[in-house]
């Protein structure tokens, strides 16, 4: 009998899906595996491939087994195929098939739509690893380096998760799509990653933290809605991925929080009350709060674009087909079919942003974006608590969702961060105050010096309150390979 909770190591690929008795898929995955390892090895600098990193590996998908910590060399990390346990009698949670038994095989009429969703999700996973490939070299501590690598190996595992679905359920085109996931590459001229936000290099650690906070949170929302899929293997895959995704949220939120904490601490120690005394604050080796606000503006607005058009027939079709639900669909108290419901969306009419009611079915993207905004606002509130506690007069804010948008109804219009329409000249004059400038980037870059002594941190960031796996402050999270 196949053990569907504990991970089996009887094939090259750890899994809880009974791969050893599924020769065809096993063969396809084993064929894909070397390409994956090559991709990984080309990506991460050799020095880190040989270092021992204190990582968690899932040994089973139940709560007791999925966070097993130990030192491991990254190329030997046990990437595998792990699905949350099957829920007996699960039904399709939304759309026109609402209440019918969930699909265990791909429903023919939705095959292409499903495949496309899986490919897009799969494409983002290696994309972010590619974007972050140089960050290990400037890690502000071994603790942060370990967190970066944990995020990276788990994004790698998420790629595996999507590739498994493609290989298992989509035959030959699935295999081709799986291969293409290793061909496309972030920032490539010829074959870039599919979504714009995954083609920008992550140049520094503050960008990394902002990325994991804002952009990975979009990923979390997408996974949440795919976890509601009527296609049960996709739902189970995404449910397990979400437990790992929580760590990425953690890295982002605490990374930005620790940066803010250190800035406030240094301001206080030096008697600086004005958060806009930027030169003086920067001269003390920390990142001023206005610059942190600008980084926030950038990453937040880029991430909003990932939700697509406010009114979308694709999203309506996916929901109606029951292959993508809403955030926490099972907790929403309605007919789950959106027959007559309406939803408020933004539109742009007569030169200004207006809100109007549209059929809720077409506003699925907008609704997910609203849920995202609420989720993202929580952490900003907690960052402000850090500032408040330090007695600094400053408040971080999410900019208005019309600001700096490239996709959706606001694209192409000049909104300021408060959501006010401004003239082209005002917009150009405002931009250096609203978004990070080259000079800001250069300054942040100047702080990116690696710190590799256990328990020590770069000047611009405070140590964490609690260690990973409850380790003490001076724990050697990465035993660096010394060539």
């Amino acid at each position: 009998m196949v053990d569907l909770i504990n991970v089996s190591y009887d094939t090259q690929i750890p899994n809880n899906v009974g791969l050893s008795s599924d020769r065809k898929v096993l063969k396809a995955l084993e064929k894909w595996h070397p390409g994956y390892i090559n991709w990984w090895n080309d990506l991460i600098p050799e020095k880190f491939q040989k270092s021992m990193v204190y990582l968690r590996t899932a040994v089973s998908v139940d709560p007791k087994g999925w966070a097993k910590f130990d030192y491991v060399k990254m190329p030997e990390y046990r990437w595998g195929v792990l699905l949350a346990p099957q829920v007996e009698g699960r039904t399709i949670p939304c759309g026109e098939h609402y209440g019918q038994a969930a699909w265990q095989e791909v429903p023919g009429e939705y095959r292409n739509m499903l495949k496309r969703l899986i490919v897009i999700q799969g494409d983002t996973e290696p994309g972010s690893v590619e974007q972050q490939r140089f960050l290990g070299l400037t890690a502000p501590s071994l603790y942060d380096m370990r967190n970066l690598f944990q995020v990276n190996v788990e994004e790698g595992r998420h790629l595996w998760a999507m590739v498994y679905l493609l290989q298992k359920y989509f035959g030959r085109d699935g295999r081709e799509e799986a291969n293409d996931l290793l061909v496309r590459s972030s920032g490539s001229e010829e074959a870039p990653r599919m979504l714009g936000a995954f083609n920008e290099e992550t140049p520094d650690w503050l960008s990394f933290f902002m990325f994991t906070y804002f952009t990975d949170r979009d990923g979390k929302m997408q996974l949440e809605s795919l976890a509601q899929s009527g296609f049960d293997p996709l739902s189970r895959t995404c449910r397990f991925m979400l437990t790992e995704e929580a760590h990425h949220m953690f890295v982002g939120e605490t990374g930005v929080g620790r940066t803010i904490e250190k800035t406030c601490q240094v301001m206080r120690e030096n008697g600086i009350e004005d958060p806009y005394d930027i030169d003086k604050i920067r001269s003390l080796g920390v990142i001023d709060l206005p610059t942190i606000q600008k980084k926030l503006n950038l990453h937040y607005t880029l991430s909003l674009d990932l939700f697509g058009q406010e009114v979308s027939t694709n999203a309506a079709n996916a929901f109606n087909a029951g292959i993508k639900g809403r955030f926490q669909e099972h907790r929403i108290d309605d007919d789950h079919m959106l027959k007559d419901a309406t939803y408020t969306v933004w539109d742009f009419e007569d030169g200004k942003a207006v809100q109007k009611e549209v059929p809720a079915l077409t506003a699925i993207n907008m609704r997910l974006r609203d849920d995202y905004i609420k989720d993202a606002a929580g952490g900003v509130g907690r960052w402000n608590k850090i500032i408040e506690k330090a007695g600094v007069q400053f408040e971080l804010k999410l900019p208005h969702e019309s600001f700096n948008r490239k996709i959706g109804v606001f694209a192409g219009h000049n909104f300021d961060p408060d959501g006010k329409i401004v003239s082209g000249a005002e917009y150009d004059a405002g931009i250096p105050n609203w978004l990070p400038t080259h000079a800001d980037g250069d300054f942040i870059q100047s702080l990116m010096v690696p710190v590799t002594e256990p328990g020590k941190f770069a000047s611009w960031i405070a140590p964490p309150k609690v260690g990973i796996d409850n380790k003490p402050g001076d724990f050697e999270y990465v035993k660096l390979h010394m060539a």
């Binding site: 929580a246 949220m249 605490t254 990973i468 409850n470 003490p472």
Partner: protein, 397 residues
């Protein structure tokens, strides 16, 4: 007044509101509002499922309370309340030795010889406790069972290796696990777990393997000890724990350790020594072991111990039944070493550990008091300060 109870709480300053714990809790004891994620004290049954899934560590917070904090109170918090002074406190430093009353009571009894509330060394890793309990034990497989005492000795002490395969068993050196003997007692009730100190380091008896070792002496008519000493390779054993959150090894490589033991009391010190050998092999001149037994053939790990370099672990043996030799006990050896011991008594980096039979406590403490007196010092205040700083530990049975 209500009996004080342990309440599970979440630190709102560290929690990132990912709700993973809430989704994991099998009995929906965790809930949230727009501000905080909180645990309902009326529902939580300490199953600990939420602990490993938390990405932040904010989930592992406990307070002993007379009246549990309500959900409404917890929703309002921006930080956790301090532990209130509640007597009698069965835990040290806010950490729980164990979550079930029976195990906590056993450990409290074992640690009583320290003369007050036990506190973990400051730099010790934080221990996981009660991952498994009587209602929900974990099954281990016996990998080996080796006799440690000489064939001609009437003492039968055994080295038992248990393997946990893919199941998590995060145990630190100095912690104990419970073994549940099969069958029932005279009253027809299932046997309660018996506690045994783990004698291997945290990364396994063999590094990287999810196994651990115990050091068990066969006791006449002992239900558990006979069961364990008779185990064969491949046998399955039901295990609870880990237990204990104070008798732990400091992570500080500069810590100086004085470890005093008799018989199977050596178990935690084998774990300590192996941990330091694996983690910080260059930290020499930091560990001293004073080890008592009747004769060398009855001293567990006598062979392997002799192979540990003397500058890494100084070994002082006390034998009480050697032919043509006067009886030596650990306290006699301490007196012989009074200069070295006195130096440790005055060091802020010194950690004392005493482990073995209850009867040894008195003699050892008397010797330490004498040595202190010889230096013009008073033992009790030194001991109390060391204990409060997590540097004096007693575990005797």
């Amino acid at each position: 007044m209500n009996k004080p109870l342990k309440q599970h709480l979440i630190d709102p300053e560290i929690c990132i509101r990912c709700y993973t714990c809430e989704m994991t809790c099998p009995i929906e004891a965790i809930t949230h509002n727009d501000d905080n994620v909180v645990v309902d004290a009326e529902k939580c049954n300490f199953c600990m499922d939420c602990i490993p899934v938390c990405p932040t560590g904010s989930i592992d917070e406990w307070r002993v309370v007379n009246t549990p904090y309500s959900l409404e109170e917890q929703f309002e918090w921006t930080e956790l309340p301090e532990q209130e002074d509640i007597e009698p406190a069965a835990e040290g430093d806010g950490a729980m030795e164990a979550l079930d009353e029976a195990m906590a009571a056993l450990l409290a009894e074992a640690h009583a010889g320290a003369g007050g509330k036990s506190v973990a060394p400051q730099s010790a890793s934080k221990a996981t406790v009660n991952l498994y309990n009587l209602g929900k034990p974990i099954e281990a497989t016996v990998q080996g069972n080796y006799r440690l005492t000489a064939e001609d000795s009437d003492a039968d002490v055994r080295h038992i290796i248990l393997d946990f395969a893919g199941q998590p068993m995060p145990v630190l050196e100095g912690q104990s696990i419970g073994i549940i003997p099969p069958g029932e007692d005279a009253e027809g009730k299932p046997h309660l777990p018996r506690l045994y100190s783990v004698s291997s380091p945290r990364d396994g008896e063999r590094p990287g393997y999810n196994n651990l070792s115990l050091t068990v002496k066969r006791e006449e008519h002992g239900v558990a000890s006979n069961y364990i000493c008779d185990l064969k390779k491949g046998d399955k054993v039901r295990v609870t724990g880990p237990f204990g959150s104070t008798f732990l090894l400091p992570s500080d490589p500069d810590a100086e350790l004085l470890m005093i033991c008799t018989g199977t009391g050596s178990a935690p010190f084998r774990g300590f020594t192996m941990r330091r050998q694996r983690e910080m092999p260059s930290a020499t001149q930091k560990m001293t072991l004073v080890f008592g037994a009747r004769k060398p053939g009855e001293l567990p790990y006598f062979g392997p111990l002799k192979k540990v370099p003397e500058d890494f672990l100084r070994k002082i043996f006390a034998f009480s039944r050697l032919e043509d030799e006067p009886k030596h006990y650990v306290q006699d050896k301490l007196r012989e070493e009074k200069e070295a011991v006195a130096k440790l008594l005055k060091s802020d980096k010194a950690y004392f550990y005493i482990c073995g039979k209850k009867e040894m406590e008195h003699g050892v403490e008397e010797a330490l008091a004498d040595i202190a007196r010889g230096e013009g010092l008073e033992w009790k205040p030194i001991r109390d300060r060391m204990r409060e700083e997590g540097r004096y530990h007693v575990e005797t049975y």
